[in-house]
Amino acid sequence: MLGKLDWSAIPLDQPIPLIAGAVVLVAILGVLGWVVVKGHLPYLWHEWITSVDHKRIGVMYILLASVMLLRGGSDAIMMRIQQAVAYQSQGYLPPEHYNQIFSAHGTIMIFFVAMPFVIGLMNLIVPLQLGVRDVAFPTLNSVGFWLTATGALLVNLSLVIGEFARTGWLAFPPLSELSYSPGVGVDYYAWSLQISGVGTLVAGINLVTTVLKLRTKGMNYLRMPMFCWTTLASNLLIVAAFPILTATLAMLLLDRYLGFHFFTNEAGGNVMMFMNLIWAWGHPEVYILVLPAFGIFSEVVSTFSGKALFGYRSMVLATMAICVISFMVWLHHFFTMGAGPDVNAIFGIASMIIAVPTGVKIYNWLFTMYGGRIRFATPMLWAVGFMVTFIIGGLTGVLVAVPPADFMLHNSMFLVAHFHNVIIGGVLFGAFAGFEYWFPKAFGFRLDERWGKLAFWFTFLGFYVTFVPLYVAGMLGMTRRMQHYDVAAWRPWMLVAAAGMAVLTIGVICQIMQLVVSIRNREALRDRTGDPWDGRSLEWATSSPPPVFNFAFDPDVRGEDAYWDMKAHAQQQSLEHDLPEYHDIEMPRNSPTGFVCAFFATIMGFALIWHIWWMVILGGIGAVATFVVFAWRDHDEYVIPAGEVAAIDRVNIEERRNLVSMAGAV
């Protein structure tokens, strides 16, 4: 009846996951209870859960990523403490638990923190920057988000029901095959990634279509803000690469469920093929993550330097070059597998070449800052911190791109330090920069600068104190994923790294404090004009938060830095225009399709993991039925009357006029 599921699935003998699970459960029930008692449930359902507004969906993506960042961060803290204490002892985490923690840490940080964070920012900002009213497929967008949330839910469920994979974040066979991992851990891993992978693919298709097909008047490709370009490149990579991940995991699942032999040791299975395929996805994936971050930094550096982006066209070219070359370097993840000198040399050189367009970008940012009037607001601090950190990470990357060096450093703590250097220094700093930069746009008030700067400095310093020792430990021969060790020379570096983790934790606490303080002082921090940073692109041309239709009219773009031009013209003409004539606006109706579909997908995923076949069928039918109901809908748009549009827009125009007249008076 319930497949493999019985009471032994609850880890009653392991206090840590049980207590963690209980705390999370209490927190969730507490929030739910508060929502129900306060009567917010209808609001939550109508305004958020069923929303197809790209801004709301973007915010929900970022919220999901932030919550999962805390989960993945707790795993990181536990690992650093384990390695600090497990010198000539077993530490406090038994091996099977430690292995689950490092697997969950990697899986969560990549798939459920970095991905939703950048996709959320793209969702939130790209339609605004393009001057349009929504993404190309609004309901599909909601489906994509909720499927990602399903994946995250399944991963967290593994904490209390059953176990998570003990195989590392990419579940390499033969360890991940049934003979070596008979439990449900790998199944939790694979099914949550399959389901959230569908969500990611859907988001990718949606954003590619949005950038290619929905642009406002005059928004040529070469007038798009840099963030739109990197969004395009990143989502092209999603569309091209994620099917490889899905196919690879599907083959692994066939091995595990139906006795196939794609990657087994027996019957002609080829383990090396898994490495090849998973990295053919895995390397584009790192560029999927970091390209949007490059876009965010381009916007931030240009805005806070008060200058147009230096070398815009070379930036576009570099972005698209990275988009293509990222598909030519994947072998550098398994130089040591023995493809031989010819293959290794070619892929080594390709890996070094991809550093060139990245270098172009770094110089472009530096030249954008050169001679600019730089304001060191929090987003700019993250951007400068990124440049320093990412250059170090990039240089160590070029170092391990040399095959002979890689043979020494493969699977060492040096490698761990390298990829944290680029992912934290690149993606996470980018996500934080974007968060600080666009928060006023999303919510209508700024974030507290003092706490923001504290958060930056603690995170920045904490990062170095944590990861520079890992470089050293790697040089001293320490391999990754060690549950305990006996080498005295490594011990001091592990202690320093644990101290660094404490500093990083203070950084995270500062970030939470920043949010709390800012929400409390929101009236004082209110952004009335919609343009708090003196911005250059179209998202600043509308109010903060933007009305549901984003723009009362299609903005007319006459060059790069569209909004900067508009402001320059408006100041010459002192906004003397008559108020224009407003028209009715059609917007897509909200739809519970995404939520309902994800609800059934969750049931189906859970049932697949535990081999509860009747429940699989139930979930499958439910998910398909949801789509059928949606496909047969009669009304999918509603009309906002011109009068209402005018009323909303006039408030914002008035605020902006006041600002200009005040500036004129000074």
Binding site: R133, K217, M272, N276, L277, F327, A339, D342
Partner: protein, 129 residues
Amino acid sequence: MSDQTHMQAEHDLAPGDEEQHGVGARILGYVVGLALALLLTATSFFIAGTDLVWQPSIPVALIVLAIAQMGVHLVFFLHITTGPDNTNNVLALAFGLMVVFLVVGGTVWIMAHLNQNMPPMDQIMQMRR
């Protein structure tokens, strides 16, 4: 939303959004495509079993016919044209082809080297003998 779509539509069309031909012309297009596809399929089956041509040329002929088949599908069913309204579709096709070429070609190349250098232990033992 929809007004923007219409504005863009003059320059760039999605497959199936072509300017309005008569129904007759469109049906004719599909019929011609179906006929060509059937012809190419029939020829493939015929060539594969025949002894009328020089035997080593059969695989080459099959590859040529397969590529022609893809072309017919792209032109008649997926409506890929060289017109300026089709830039996005052609670029998407080119990008897809390039990625497939890189991943499949790279995989074949890598796996050939790996299989040669890293055979299973029993094969290594046989090579020793």
